[in-house]
Symmetry: C2
Subunit: 692 residues, 2 copies
């Protein structure tokens, strides 16, 4: 979406401009005037010739020059008309601050939909309604009614904030100011009638002034668009830190009650974040910490962390944290360790490198350790814990100087300093490109996040397959297995038979022990009605089973159409999986992968993926589920073919994505991995009418 | 241990007192003088008549009055002699600041052990060596060489800090000062030759001036003593916040390299913390946050949290966090909700209670919501998110006043305020008994920690059973099952036979399907040598199995003594457990509980408990493992007897504890839970010589 006029308008009209600078229609005028927006400002107010010292216009039509961005601060009932007039005037963007739309009920939602449709059709970028507006810090554009900028504006920087929630956005603005985090843009999207958080991220991915994006999301309307925008930002090398609330049921309930947006299942958001390298922050604190961290210094080239500390205890604490987060702690090379030990007898030169409290007496040794470790080639990132030394006016300047030298000597090795520091010292260190934290584990956490982000492979987003045209239907099990086989998902060896004699012939042809099941599209739970027999090993057992199955089903489920019997060879699986797909209104096609078996049902584990997906993501999920271990020759058992399994999941995913909204049920349970290959042993397949 | 003289000495001698106030022997003199210790100070220095303006004495013997506490700041080689002289002078306590003992190697360790033995024998409380000393903030006693108090001392308060690490202790002191956390005592225990962190906690549990204890631990020498001290503090109603480092392998390696203490397995520490209600902090931040939280306001009577917020988004974030932590979010009673809705049209009156940004215009509504919720009886604790309102000099005083009223109206409902606040406002709120956080989820976390702590049942610590006198031996399986049965641990129905005919008779007597195993104390892995047969259902199969087993073992393990064959009835377990015990040098008897089965081995789960233990703790671990669910009639399966299972684990634990250091191996694998009862199906039992 073209959002240039929203962020960098050549002119701004305020529709419903107020003389009172505290009002919704007055605050933007006040902010634009006081904070130095350099383009023309056109207040529109039918009852005033002047607004806050500016010439006012009675109507939108009366504005004598082109309107680039319109700030709409009218009662809800007047918004639609104003948007029509703005479209007629070819305004390129509008920020609708007014509330009273989808969040108020059906009528408001209908008006909102009409406004959005008109804006989209005419190419106008419409932000809101029910939003707090937008700011471009560099351009000094404050199209908002939040009074927060009056108390001070953060410096111009390279971090953009985009928030669905206005209150959260305002709070984040205050936190940025308090934490001296430099901002490029600030946007709140409110009801997202047209412009969504995804659209803003997409635009920011192209914006030269933005290096890091902080996003706050309650629920997206279009999961695929969100995924595309996040992938674009990742490809552009811009980390996106996401706070997505409503993780839990209680949270989702709370989110629903306060926004008008449909919120999908949290695991799906997580899958999208995982697929695109978006970094999830669980707290506001963490969001800002990560934002500052990604805006400062380099990213680690690998997982090797060096820890230099004046306290062995805190060193251990950081080592614990590094270990939790999968970082490695290689020892200090002897060439650096030796001179350190000569200087400080108690110095521990493994890793953590404990230079002990001695440094207070002999500060240069800290520089020796830090610069030595940074330039040794043994580490991809470095943390230094200096306790209260930074708070000492005597020591702080020397430490800053020492850090400046170490960073300059090893610019590719990001460095974080931990300890008590005053704001001036903190700023001086940040300017050197060195992160600063009071809490030692925070340093390890952000370096780990930077490491993971840098290691994320930028892969092409998979192509959506062409839609499969198919009529609504519910397949029986034999048809379902055949249908899947047609798309490259192999079935367990089986025959569909219609007499005891054919069953016997099938068993002989298949070999081994047989499983028999009734074939009927009307029966989902076949064993409940005597429709399944297992462990069949002789002609007599096969014949008895055929009659037993058809008889029992006729007796217990008389209304079910009987379509014959399936004879299948019993397999010896290394792993039994469940593989399913569904169509989600927000995320489109979604795959669910699970591990079977009774003990696992006790501690259930499933993974979700949006489809189509990639081999890498499928492999990562199979690994997380323990499947790769289970089929990887674990405990002396035979190996399964992991590549073939990944391939089957990908084919299944492509098929599901091709069905799109016509997907009813697509489920294989179990999908068996044997030493011989992959086989669907049972499947349910149905197609539905495409919902509008 | 009697530590009164350590914390409140009537007089202090500084052995090795220095004229230079920056030196180890000079700093304590400087601190005691400058910070106002009110007892007599006796510097001991053979080469000076005066030290920092005080009369000095050439020797310990020359000190003309009784010495209550001696601060020893001598070279390591002179410490032992000084301690002897102090004992002769009946000094009641000594703080040994000197390093060069166990942390330096075997010789140092031997000297340290001698000193400790002498001190313990004479009743002298010996702190250190290699420690940073002790402070009693109220008494203005600063028996330390840390210069930290020179930069300012925290106010007198009710929080005590005890740290094994000196550097961590010094850092914690600075953090307390910076965070305005009032302290009672500060202790670092260093090498813990005599006085340990556990001894200090034990003493603080009785100290009237201490309400909350912050403890930093790298490794305890006596796990049972630690557990007793923590239980005593819990019984005294004093929360202990513990930071135990060395959680991970990397961390444990780091901890080992820098202290002289043996560190047990982390899971055992966790078991001790769980059993005693100690609250574990994973970061320094969290440790101080919890310390402040437990020192301020009341504790919640239950799990019902009310959330009042000016931002729906942040409300959702807090609801997510509350849900993660098991708190409940009941809706606001209608009697409170109705007037709120009348006042603010967009107000969400479920929970989170979203009073919206409107409050900036109508602040009293926040008080209406907060006090209404607090006094409604619907909540056990309350969090309020006010965004940046507290930072406004206009709004802050009114908010503080409003909070003061709400806390007074509902003193039993702890309250936490979240938002940006300056230090004065923060202090004013803390003085009202209201917690303050910038990060909203922190408020939820500490209230959850307080809730869990308050709900911890104070149960009597289990009694150590009398030691069982038993000679070293390795039992065979039949003997092992009999031995366990003698202590109330039932075995699966079985017979120990010595001929095929007896085996057949045994099978007939037992009924059902049989399992047969070789009996030999020399064979741990019986199936590897053909010593196990299963699924035996006829006389012929039993006879063949007898001959097959004895023949195979004779061939494959000719040197193993054959002691007959065990015939056991095959059971149909609802759950298979592993139950083991071992003797740990730090924690004494330790029980290990695990769930069996191949899928569980893929994602292993075990629990550890110190023994003897209580029914409540065993039940909690069985629950965490999923066993209670598995045997609780899960998925329509029969139920097992959970009480009987708990009882068997308790009996097993008592037996293991009675064996104490004579315990070699005690393991039941599997322990079967069937619909009929609990049965050990296989066991390994051995006894060893008691190690010195």
């Amino acid at each position: 979406m073209q959002l240039d006029a929203l962020f960098s308008p050549r002119s701004v009209a305020v529709i419903g401009a107020s003389q009172n600078p505290q009002k919704v229609g007055g605050m933007p005028v006040q902010l634009l005037l006081r904070l130095g927006y350099d383009g023309p400002i056109y207040p529109v107010n039918p009852g005033a010739a002047e607004v806050q010292g500016l010439t006012a216009f009675a109507t939108i039509d009366a504005v004598p020059a082109p309107i680039d961005l319109a700030i709409v601060a009218l009662p809800a009932a007047s918004v639609e008309g104003a948007i029509e007039q703005l479209i007629a005037r070819r305004a390129r963007a509008a920020v609708v601050l007014s509330s009273g739309f989808a969040e108020m009920g059906e009528e408001g939602a209908a008006t909102q939909a009409r406004i959005a449709e008109r804006a989209l059709a005419s190419g106008m970028a419409l932000l809101g309604p029910n939003c707090l507006g937008v700011m471009n810090i560099r351009r000094k554009l404050f199209a908002t009614f939040s009074p927060a900028p009056l108390a001070g504006v953060p410096e111009v920087g390279q971090v953009a904030i985009v928030s669905q929630s206005g209150a959260f956005g305002a709070y984040a603005f205050s936190l940025a100011r308090k934490g001296s985090l430099g901002l490029s843009h600030w946007v709140t999207t409110g009801n997202e009638a047209a412009v969504s958080v995804a659209d803003v991220i997409d635009w920011l991915a192209d914006d030269a002034g933005t290096r890091v994006i902080l996003a706050y999301i309650e629920g997206a309307r279009d999961g695929a668009a969100l995924q595309r925008a996040l992938a674009k930002a990742r490809a552009a090398g811009k980390p996106v830190i996401v706070t997505k609330v409503g993780r839990t049921e209680a949270g989702a309930r709370a989110a629903m009650s306060h926004t008008a947006s449909l919120s999908g299942e949290d695991a799906l958001y997580q899958a999208v974040f995982d697929a695109t390298g978006a970094i999830r922050a669980r707290t506001v604190d963490e969001m800002f910490r990560l934002g500052q961290a990604f805006a400062t210094g380099s990213t680690p080239a690998g997982r090797r962390l060096g820890i230099v500390t004046v306290s062995g205890g805190v060193g251990t604490l950081m080592a614990d944290s590094a270990s939790d987060l999968g970082l490695e702690l290689p020892p200090l090379p002897e060439s650096v360790a030796m001179p350190l030990r000569e200087r400080i007898p108690f110095c521990a030169t493994q890793n953590p490198i404990d230079v002990t409290g001695q440094v207070t007496a002999d500060l240069p040794v800290l520089g020796l350790a830090a610069q030595g470790a940074a330039t040794s080639g043994a580490y991809d990132a470095l943390v230094l814990f200096v306790a209260a030394a930074l708070a000492s006016p005597l020591l702080a300047p020397s430490i800053v100087e020492m850090v400046r030298k170490a960073v300059a000597a090893a610019p590719g090795v990001p460095m974080a300093l931990c300890g008590i520091a005053d704001e001036a010292t903190r700023q001086a260190l940040l300017e050197c490109g060195c992160l600063v934290f009071e809490e030692p584990t925070h340093a390890v956490e952000v370096l780990s996040a930077k490491t993971r982000w840098a290691a994320q492979r930028i892969e092409p987003q998979p192509q959506q397959p062409a839609q499969l045209e198919i009529a609504p239907a519910l397949l029986n099990e034999a048809e379902a297995l055949d249908f899947l086989a047609g798309f490259g998902v192999p079935a367990a060896p089986h025959r569909w038979v219609h007499s005891p004699a054919d069953a016997v012939a099938a068993w002989r042809a298949l070999g081994g022990e047989a499983v028999m099941k009734i074939v009927s599209a009307d029966l989902l739970h076949k064993s409940d009605v005597g429709g399944v027999r297992v462990g069949l090993r002789s002609e007599q057992e096969i014949r008895e089973a055929y009659d037993g199955i058809t008889g029992a089903v006729a007796r217990l489920a008389p209304q079910a159409r009987q379509q014959g019997v399936l004879v299948a060879r019993k397999l010896a699986p290394l792993a039994e999986l469940m593989l399913g797909a569904r169509h989600d209104p927000v995320f489109g096609t979604v795959l669910v992968l699970g591990l079977g078996g009774v003990q696992v049902e006790l501690h259930p584990r499933t993974a979700v993926l949006t489809a189509p997906t990639t081999a890498e993501r499928v492999r990562a999920q199979l690994d997380a589920l323990g499947v790769l271990k289970l089929i990887g020759g674990w405990r002396g058992r035979p190996k399964g073919d992991a590549d073939a399994l990944v391939d089957v999941v990908l084919r299944f995913g492509s098929l599901a994505a091709a069905l799109g909204p016509r997907l009813g049920t697509l489920e294989i349970n179990p999908l068996m991995v044997t030493a011989e290959g992959i086989a669907a042993a049972d499947a349910v397949v149905s197609f539905v009418e495409e919902a509008r």
